[in-house]
């Protein structure tokens, strides 16, 4: 890898053969956080991209080792903060699996609904940010208007808008808000009306299409060998939806399609996410009227202790497959914890797929990889 002195040396001078080395980030409007890309350019053409991480490293894995199985869940909200619910679900599922806790049906269904709402919210934010990367500012505000409805629902039920910490091992922290169902239905209604706006402004737009079609092409075999998951891999024709492959919570009882596009370019990844939002709506519609009555949290011991051994649980976040791996020594805290975050693998293909394209294409490619830097750099 690069060391710091090398970075400084390289970037103060022109490289060999007229190469231009540009530091994009850690403070750059298109990197959505503190990602640092050392981009080697030849004119406008990209020759090499080297991502540099570490600007927002908070050693979350190490922190989790000193927290109990109830406490460590809240930290995971801070990894991929746009799908914090799903991160929390992954941890709760792992603890439940390790201790054989029975989760009530009500909790399972509510978790599923909330996970799908989180996915929609994340994709809404992504669609706005993606349009902004390509220079269209307005869709951002339209997307945030719908996302605001979701965060309002979250605020009502979970008490927070971004880092909810609503899911506990065994179920939910408290019952859903009495108006939860009506609000979710109102959201579905508005979403279905307004989703055509993205088609008018973004999807169908000739400039947007020409910016994304045939750009950043990732083949299916490359997607697998780089470990890509989520919409990035599904845009290349790999079916890798954990909700289908290894259903958790209430995903085994709902009907939905795994969206797969085969083109592998930025537009395919874009379309996967847009269509996934519709599938999420479909899942929510099936569940929202059928939330079973009963307890919202299962019976758990006061002090949670995982048996000695190794445990792994994977879920599908908005960005791809999140894996939680715990080595337990039988105590109240994990001995070793490891998160397999989707963003890290998705970022690793950037050099491969953006090489040889223009700087403008780098933005389109990076936008559709949907990078959340705290997720990559835990």
């Amino acid at each position: 890898m690069y060391n710091q002195t090398e970075i400084i040396k390289d970037t103060t001078d022109l490289g060999p053969e007229g190469e231009l080395i540009v530091n994009m980030g850690p403070q750059h409007p298109a990197t959505h956080g503190v990602l640092h890309l050392v981009v080697t350019l030849n004119g406008e053409t990209i020759k090499k991209i080297e991502p540099h991480l570490g600007y927002i490293h908070r050693s979350i894995e190490k922190m989790c080792e000193s927290l109990t199985y109830r406490q460590f869940i809240y930290v995971t909200s801070r990894m991929d903060y746009l799908s914090s619910h799903i991160n929390n679900t992954a941890c709760a599922l792992l603890v439940e699996k390790g201790m054989q806790i029975e989760v009530p049906e009500r909790a399972k269904v509510v978790r599923t609904i909330l996970n799908e709402l989180t996915r929609i919210a994340s994709h809404e934010l992504w669609i706005g940010a993606m349009a902004m990367d390509l220079g269209a500012f307005t869709p951002f505000f339209y997307a945030f208007r719908e996302r605001e409805m979701i965060t309002d629902i979250m605020e009502d039920t979970c008490g927070a808008r971004l880092t909810m910490n609503y899911i506990v091992p065994g179920g939910l922290m408290y019952d859903i808000h009495p108006e939860f169902q009506t609000k979710v239905k109102a959201f579905i209604k508005q979403f279905k009306e307004k989703v055509t706006e993205y088609e008018d402004l973004v999807t169908g737009n000739v400039i947007f299409q020409s910016r994304t079609k045939g750009v950043g092409i990732l083949t299916a075999s490359d997607a697998i060998s780089y470990g890509c998951t989520g919409p990035v891999a599904r845009g290349s024709g790999v079916n890798c939806d954990i909700r289908k492959i290894a259903p958790y919570d209430a995903y085994d009882r709902v009907e939905f399609d795994e969206i797969i596009e085969t083109a592998g370019d930025s537009f395919a990844r874009y379309m996967v996410r847009v269509k996934e939002m519709n599938q999420s709506i479909r899942i929510i519609e099936q569940l929202i009227d059928n939330i079973p009555e009963g307890d919202f949290v299962g019976k758990t011991k006061n002090v949670l202790k995982l048996a000695k051994g190794e445990f792994y649980q994977r879920v599908e976040t908005a960005r791809g497959e999140l894996g939680v791996y715990i080595v337990s020594e039988g105590g109240t805290t994990p001995h070793r914890i490891k998160f397999r975050s989707p963003g890290f693998s998705n970022l690793s293909v950037l050099n491969h797929i953006a090489k040889g394209s223009k700087i403008g294409d780098l933005m389109a490619t990076m936008g559709t990889l949907d990078l959340v830097i705290p997720d990559i750099d835990r």
Binding site: G214, I217, L218, G237, C240
Partner: protein, 187 residues
């Protein structure tokens, strides 16, 4: 001395000063910028002479075209920011001699034919339509032949550009993925 002649001397000073700076500057980009000012000064001189059409063409061709081209080629060279080495003394002396000789020659020509007499005949003010007609006329003093020769030259230059800019066809479609390599990893 009226305002008009003050303006003339100011413009001339700009042209000559910028010209001297253009040849003496050690930074190539600055030299280009001084050349630009010199050329703008010449356009200003045309405006002063009230031949606006020529002045506008001077700006379009020299400033908007040639200087921009020069600046672009400077950008494409590597060491555009570095200071150039000062030329050898013998080169300097010969350049100065050449400049002096040129000045003397031009001066001699002007004195021989017209002198510096101020010609105060009626102002030269052709309409744009007249210029257009003259450009395409085949009568005496018509410019149709040079006009067409220049068009041919430009056409040749354009064809040359296109040939240089075209890239080989095989490099375009090499990165499209093969859609038959789709893999399922269902477990």
């Amino acid at each position: 001395m009226n305002i008009s002649s003050i303006l003339f001397y100011a413009i001339s000073a700009l042209i000559l000063g910028a010209g001297i700076l253009a040849v003496t500057s050690v930074k190539i980009f600055r030299a280009a910028i001084w050349l630009l000012f010199s050329l703008i000064g010449i356009a200003a001189l045309y405006f002063w002479m009230q031949v606006e059409f020529i002045a506008a063409i001077q700006i379009v061709v020299y400033v908007g075209g040639i200087v921009v081209l020069i600046i672009f080629s400077i950008f494409l060279t590597q060491h555009s920011g570095k200071e150039m080495n000062s030329p050898a003394r013998s080169k300097k002396i010969f350049s100065a001699l050449a400049a002096l000789f040129g000045t003397a020659f031009v001066h001699n020509l002007i004195v021989h034919y017209e002198g510096f007499a101020f010609n105060s005949a009626k102002p030269f003010n052709p309409s744009v339509a007249e210029i257009g007609t003259q450009m395409l006329s085949t009568t005496s003093y018509g410019f149709i032949l040079p006009f067409e020769v220049v068009s041919m030259l430009l056409l040749a230059a354009m064809v040359g550009c296109i040939v240089i800019a075209m890239r080989p066809a095989n490099t375009i479609n090499s990165e499209i993925p093969n859609s038959t390599t789709l893999v399922n990893n269902k477990d």
